[in-house]
């Protein structure tokens, strides 16, 4: 066989991975709805298969290149300049893999939690999976917007059907909140699309074309860029969510079933941060820089505000939800540092938050499933009855508060180092999150797990094999990233470098210059040390 015959399959791997869940849905549609076990195991099998199918991408990815890889580019709506164009770079890749990874866990944790309408439930989960994966692979704005919006539909149903007592309020709030942001974003996308016509180009929705528009946007009136940036900002900030656009999140999390929370925290929120990295920064670098003080301020408010509010929550799930606001505030701070360390840290924080916060929602799900209550005051002293659970809970807590050796630290550390180089005082303020994060998490842990054991909880069973099985990969991932994050850093290296150059073409040149100057100052000083000291001795 000629090598050409082999290429397409490999080249299209991300596409396959994206649509395998949807193909699975087609198969599941044929099964009668009473066969609960088929849906459970079927969905698990599909997501597992999908995950293993996505693993080769990790090895195939060319780390030496910043280019978009596995490109598939087909004509779709030529009249509008829309193409079915997919592919990934390192930034997309890590989030793509996170999605296939979390997908398995989301399915697996639902087996006993979901007690009605199994067929629809697992089908929505799988549809959700395809739409989320789609967001990370698309290289066309139109396609991106399509996935981005469709994603809301399965999430809406997951909350509205299988959610808690106020599920409808939460689901509608989530939908309207995000939709209003998305519409603003659509306006911005169309504005840039039509700008292409104005500057005499054949208009296209290709993301690469949008990136190329950066200099043309810069030539327009400053207000133009700023308005576009604000539109993108609101669209993404709602999804992240950044203060003050975050109030949909606690409601959605509290009402959502465990798997819904896991997906929300694990992947959905990352769409917002991903949007910033992929669109706002490279397309509108100048406007971003102009608005940076505001963005930084909102990120910082998110860090501190989220933590303070998390501290006084009485519902465990709500507490974890507010902790997300705080963690993602830090993530945004890293991204807005606009230097490689900060942005890499921000992307790490996305992955880490996906792992540890998903883990924490699963943790809450365990006790909720057993007792159908979630108030901190309802528990206490569980450590004695549930030692394995206590251990996993402790690891996830530590991962969430950024204990070195676990994943959370790597992101936090890189973010703070990066942010300090850009905005020293912002970084110093953000470190307060280190204290507050430990405070609300450990205080909660203490009240739930330590102290005297309540009678009602005396019969709570520890984790069973299935539960342990879906926690294990999260724990392994937390340790892997904490102990040896370098493979991820290698994958992110080139794309982040390219991004920084898009934002500030002179960044690396300036950095080299600065270092040379410092080195020169040092050698100069060393040579001058003796006479300098003598001169000062005279004073």
């Amino acid at each position: 066989m000629s090598p050409d015959m082999m290429v397409p399959w490999f080249k299209n791997l991300p596409l396959w991975v994206t649509f395998v869940p949807l193909l699975g849905v087609l198969a599941l549609l044929l099964v009668p709805k009473e066969k609960r076990r088929v849906f459970e195991l079927g969905a698990l099998g599909i997501t597992l298969f999908d995950f293993f199918l996505s693993v080769p991408l990790w090895f195939q990815y060319d780390r030496g290149s910043a280019a978009v890889q596995w490109v598939t580019d087909l004509s779709w709506i030529p009249a509008l300049g829309v193409r079915f164009s997919v592919g990934m770079d390192g930034i997309s890749l890590v989030l793509f893999l996170l999605t296939t990874f979390i997908g398995v866990i989301a399915v697996w944790c639902s087996f006993t939690a979901i007690e009605e309408r199994h067929k629809e439930y697992y089908i929505w989960l799988l549809v959700m999976q395809t739409t989320m994966l789609g967001v990370f692979i698309c290289q066309d704005m139109f396609l991106f917007y399509l996935f981005w919006e469709i994603m809301l539909v399965p999430m809406y149903f997951l909350i509205a059907i299988w959610g808690g007592p106020q599920k409808l309020y939460a689901a509608i709030k989530l939908f309207l909140y995000t939709l209003s942001g998305s519409v603003l974003m659509l306006v911005a996308i169309l504005a840039i699309y039509f700008l292409q016509k104005k500057v005499g180009m054949e208009p296209s929705f290709a993301i690469s074309r949008f990136h190329e528009m950066a200099p043309y946007i810069a030539q327009q009136a400053p207000t133009y860029g700023i308005l576009l940036a604000l539109a993108f900002f609101v669209g993404f900030a709602i999804k992240v969510p950044m203060f003050p656009f975050h109030t949909w999140l606690p409601d959605a999390h509290v009402q959502a079933p465990t798997a819904g929370s896991v997906i929300l925290a694990g992947i959905l929120l990352k769409m917002g941060t991903y949007g910033f990295v992929r669109f706002l920064l490279p397309i509108l670098p100048d406007a971003t820089k102009a608005l940076l003080p505001w963005f930084i301020a909102l990120s910082l408010i998110g860090v501190v505000y989220g933590a303070l509010v998390a501290m006084i929550q009485k519902d465990i799930k709500k507490l974890v939800a507010y902790s997300s606001v705080s963690h993602l505030g830090l993530c945004m701070l890293g991204i807005f540092a606009l230097n490689p360390t900060g942005i890499t840290g921000g992307i790490f924080q996305m992955i880490n938050h996906g792992i540890s916060t998903s883990g924490l929602f699963l943790i809450v799900g365990i006790v909720y499933e057993r007792r159908h209550v979630r108030q901190i005051a309802d528990f206490g002293g569980l450590s004695k009855r549930m030692p394995v659970y206590a251990t996993v809970f402790m690891i996830m807590t530590m991962s969430s508060i950024g204990l070195p050796g676990l994943n959370g630290f790597i992101g936090e550390f890189a973010i703070l180092q990066g942010a300090f180089q850009a905005f020293p005082w912002a970084a110093v303020v953000a470190t307060s999150g280190i204290i507050l994060g430990a405070a609300y998490m450990l205080w909660m842990y203490q009240r739930v797990m330590f102290g005297p054991l309540n009678e009602v909880n005396a019969k709570m069973p520890d984790l069973n094999a299935r539960e342990l099985a879906y926690f294990a990969p999260l724990v392994v991932a937390a340790f892997w990233i904490g102990l040896y994050p370098k493979p991820f850093m290698d994958i992110l290296h080139k794309p982040v470098e390219k991004l920084v150059q898009q934002i500030d073409p002179k960044f690396f040149e300036a950095q080299r210059l600065d270092e040379a100057q410092k080195a020169a100052a040092r050698t100069g000083q060393a040579g001058m040390a003796a006479p300098g000291a003598a001169a000062h001795g005279g004073h």
């Binding site: 109030t247 360390t341 070195p404 550390f413 430990a438 102990l483 040896y484 370098k486 950095q511 003796a530």
Partner: protein
Amino acid sequence: MHTHLWLIPFLPFLGFLAMGLLGRRLGRTGVAVIGVGTVVASFALSLIAFAAMKAAPGQRLELVALDWMAVDRLRVPFGLVFDPLSTAMALAVTGIGALIHLYSVGYMNEDEGYPRFFAYLNLFVFFMLILVLGSSLPLIFVGWEGVGLCSYLLIGYYFRTDFAPAAGLKAFLTNRIGDLGMVVGMMVLFAHFGTLTVGELLVKAGGLSPETTFGVLTFATLMLFVGATGKSAQLPLYVWLPDAMAGPTPVSALIHAATMVTAGIFLVCRLAPLFELTPITLTVIAWVGAATALFAATIGLAQRDIKKVLAYSTVSQLGYMVLGLGAGGFAAGFFHVFTHAWFKALLFLGAGSVIHALHHEQDLFKMGGLRAKLPFTFWTMLIGTLAIMGLPPFAGFFSKDEILYLAFLKSPVLWGMGVLGACLTSFYMWRLMALAFWGEPRDAHAFAHAHESPRTMTVPLVVLAAGSAVVGFWGVPEAFGGHFQVGRFLAPSLTYGQTAAEAVHHHGPAVLLALISTGLAIACGWWGFASYRGGLALAEARAARWPGLHRWVAGKYFVDEGIEKVVLGPVRWLGNLLWKLFDVILIDGIGVNLPGALTRVSGDLLALHQTGRVRNYALLMTLGALGLFWVFLR
């Protein structure tokens, strides 16, 4: 090549894994063998490394396994460094650690969480060794936070009580405040030097004259010192250490007296050349240390819980070490870390032996007359007391004297504070001894059942006592005809990377100062002993004469209550306020639900006239038409 060196930290880690994963399946003996064995093996390896270091002074070995982090300029290797400072510290950690592990075999014998306890203890030793041996600040920080985690877990070891987990939380959070300083310090150093590897930092900083980066370095070192105040329980972050005594006594001895709490002093020594460049920081350090030494000693005077006395004593002794650092005597500070590890571990284990004998009675006022019942415990604790009060030639004398002498050179006021603290130390230690071992038994029942501890507990006591008696000779100061060998040994570490290391010559009335401080300490010790030997009568009379003063001192100056009122309460109040004001009222109320409600209300209002009755529509049409007529035909 140097595989055996890697084993030093990783053996205890393997022990932790084995005990953590297999747990009860190992059986008590299995746990004990693995727990003690790994640490002993690691001690033996440290001893070999230490011997090699002694044979070839000035050696510095950096082992690098792989890159831990690599983003842009931020490159952190996963590496260990073996130099005089780290090897000496590793030796102390594994040595004292091994003894305390052995002691725990007896002390925790009846505890059901045996494997959990040893797993945590081994994990602690691992992290402590990472802290000590780590070649870069982030790696040191891994150990730093790791020991904090173990401390948290072990303080809260009796997790079914209310107070132990609360004490653990307090320790962790107070330490986190310090960690903030450490993180900020790292950020400043990285932004300025572009590296966080200790060796590179020191070399880069060594090339600078103090003036060039004065501000940056002062800020960075001050921030690092904030980290040190957290871990080493200095004012104002000392509050967690006394509460940490809620943990099992071997933990108090190992973590909260001998090793972990000295991490702050170690950190400053590790970066000594940086601190050397920042005189302002050193002055701050000296005053904080002296103040802590004195302040904590006063609280120690009036505590009833035997472990609390020792805890405040630890805070106070840590203050001396910090004072030593601030006076520019990094070697002196470290030397006190070293001697203190011996005698404070001894005192804690002795206290544990008493507590064990009295079936977990910790109240000194219920003890008394135990001298004959617990001979090993009594004699070893006596040696510990002599060492901590600074009686020559016991260990504490040489190290404390060197610190006080350097303090005198910096400022006689610092010396005065130090000497006063030493007097108080001597007083409360002799008070403790008198209350526990002399006089009439004040709890007849407990006394009747008291028995000397098993061999696994008394052997470590004897070894530690022997150490407390002799380790001081490693650093006999020059004024007493010695060579302060510990200083010479450490010198390559403490001056690493500096271009011109100047020899410091001390001038001062060293012997006279030592005579004064020792004489005063002996007098105060006698005073304390005489006051309490006969029972509580004299003490109660004194408390009655100065009720206000006694209430303040015994109540630890009500610092904890103050923190609750001034910090914790307001933070919770603020959290509640923010949540109600922004989330509930402003954003959700006015921003989200109000438009939603308005939409619904306006829809409902408009729907009112959609009645479906033709006569209503006809009426409206007619009214509308009349209205139009009135407008146009008026």
